[in-house]
């Protein structure tokens, strides 16, 4: 057990995966010599050499496409896109190529690649450096989507993502990079597609992921003071997502709140709420509440951004609404 920062857990997972498998290579802008804009790859070029930690030009479309082609030709690439907002430049490679290759070639190949990218606001980075676009990828058959909540989760889920035979979009909330947490010595992969109960409760279920798990836990703490025991489910994986875990918790609490930092409308929470409204309908004792960002670009000014971000209070208010 060692206390580790989130970003170091990422570095550790990359290093361990590269150690375990020579075919794992990293590609990205300034990830090599400079160690990565958020230091996620610090030291890896020295350790594994420039042939396995590739500093790329500013060519998002092509480095993601190249990762797909490399994955079809024997490598297991992990490509970093510096901010999730820049995946807008690489959607063809991810969606039309990597996601579909296996299916449209009749199962002839897999595309074992990972696209790592940070999302999220809180750094006053403005409208083009803060977006949470995971819902786009979750809509695409053939892709898996992962979003960890703390250092140990980041380590285990990234190991699983790199091991996975299918293309995975691995999303790191940049506000978590500095977060500290315990990482067990010799930790292994955490299976994709399985949620975890981050806090048990009987009165309402909060379904969430990524940085919003911490916010939900804070909300649960506040609610506990009011005598309300909220269960917090960390989805971990958004595609596929652990429907059984969510419906199981609902069967106990009969109330559901879905929370995330992404824009609420057409966010991942919509799918979860909609599924609950169908398959969980008979268990529901209250409206299904969603908590997400308002329908506007992420504003720059600190004051605006703080008002924009869905926080613990918003989640707690959502839970209270299910109990009215």
């Amino acid at each position: 057990m060692a206390e580790t920062r989130f970003v170091k857990a990422i570095t550790q997972a990359l290093a361990d995966a590269m150690e375990a498998d020579d075919r794992v290579v990293l590609l990205g802008e300034d990830i090599g010599a400079a160690g990565g804009p958020f230091s996620a790859t610090r030291g890896l070029r020295d350790r594994f050499g420039a042939a396995r930690v590739l500093d790329t030009p500013i060519s998002e479309a092509t480095i993601v496409g190249a990762a797909a082609g490399a994955a079809m030709s024997g490598l297991r690439p992990v490509v970093e896109i510096m901010f999730m907002d820049f995946v807008t430049l690489a959607m063809d490679a991810m969606v039309n190529q990597a996601a579909k290759a296996r299916f449209m070639f009749g199962g002839q190949c897999s595309v074992p690649m990972v696209l790592r990218t940070p999302h999220g606001a809180g750094l006053n980075a403005g409208p083009q450096h803060s977006q949470c676009l995971e819902a786009w990828f979750a809509h695409i058959p053939g892709l898996k989507v992962v979003c960890p909540a703390d250092p140990a989760e980041a380590y285990g889920l990234l190991r699983a993502a790199i091991d996975d035979p299918d293309p995975v979009v691995f999303i790191e909330n940049k506000a978590l990079y500095a977060m500290k947490g315990d990482l067990a010595e010799g930790a292994g992969p955490i299976p994709l597609g399985k949620a975890r109960i981050a806090r048990e409760g009987r009165d309402a279920t909060i379904v969430t992921y990524g940085a919003s798990v911490g916010r939900a836990l804070q909300a649960a703490e506040t609610l506990a003071g009011e005598g309300v025991e909220a269960e917090v489910i960390d989805l971990r994986t958004l595609q596929p997502w652990d429907k059984a875990a969510v419906l199981g918790s609902l069967a106990k609490t009969h109330r559901a709140v879905v929370a995330h930092e992404a824009v609420q409308s057409h966010g991942v929470g919509a799918e979860i709420a909609a599924t609950i409204a169908d398959e969980g309908f008979d268990e529901l004792d209250a409206p299904v509440v969603r908590v997400g960002a308002p329908f506007m670009p992420v504003p720059f000014a600190a004051s605006l951004e703080q008002a924009y971000l869905p926080g613990p209070d918003d989640i707690a208010a959502g839970v209270r609404r299910t109990l009215e």
Partner: protein
Amino acid sequence: MLLIRRVEETLSSHFAAGDIPGFIHLSIGQEATAAGVMSALRDDDTIASNHRGHGHSLAKGMQLDGFFAELFGRADGLCKGRGGSMHVADLSVGMLGANGIVGAGVPLSVGSALAHKTLGTDRVCAAFFGDGALAEGAMHESLNIAALWSLPLLFVCENNGWSEFSPSDTQFAGTAPDLAGAFGIKAQTVDGNDVEAVAQAAQALVAEMRKGGGPRLLECKTTRVHGHFEGDPQRYRNPDEIEGLSARDPIARAAAMLKKRKVAQKTLEKIADDVDARIAKAVEGALASPLPDFAEAAADVYADPLTGGAAHG
């Protein structure tokens, strides 16, 4: 080459007869580029192709039966009927797929060439694209990265003068070799309808690449004889132009060349007969092949069917 021609003629009539779903893009008149380039490649080299990929596929050694079954949308197709003409692929011979997105095969090739290099092999990758694809940003990014990383990647531009219904000069302000030159990539232009010229150039370039020479570009000037897709009435094209193409027909030219070299007429006829027999058998097999099973397709979106509580969707 003859195989490609006969296959596509067969496809053309089956398309007209309604046996083939979707749309197909034929490379009739362009066969020499695929055949010539592939003469320089080994089985373990890779290629990425585009929407007009039948020639590339067959020249790289794609299985004929699976090819036809795929285009006919059948269960025995190489892609189990899920891809069709625009996505036909045979990974077992290093053919990384036709591609429905103009220019998209090129970044895939960058990655494939990177894999060859990283894994310490002397394999090369060839990327096939048309003159119209030159306008896509992916071309530029790929040329740059291939040059910077000195990748074993042969860029093959099949310049047939058309991008769908638009002539090339409305589509690209430069030329493929000039563009390559801006990145310091050595380029060469050949008569793409002269299979020997293509083969010689490709073999020389690939030999340099195998020795670590980095990327090369080969521009093949060629001719699209049919429409952009089958069924295209080509109203935008001067009938005289199409008429004139027969003088440049790569198959006729190759046949004349072989005759001049005293290859017996009988040998040529035998080749043609073999080709026709193979095609007939493949078509028969394709037509006899069952329609693909939906449940099987649905189960093949991921390599790894998930267990436990998780379900995709």
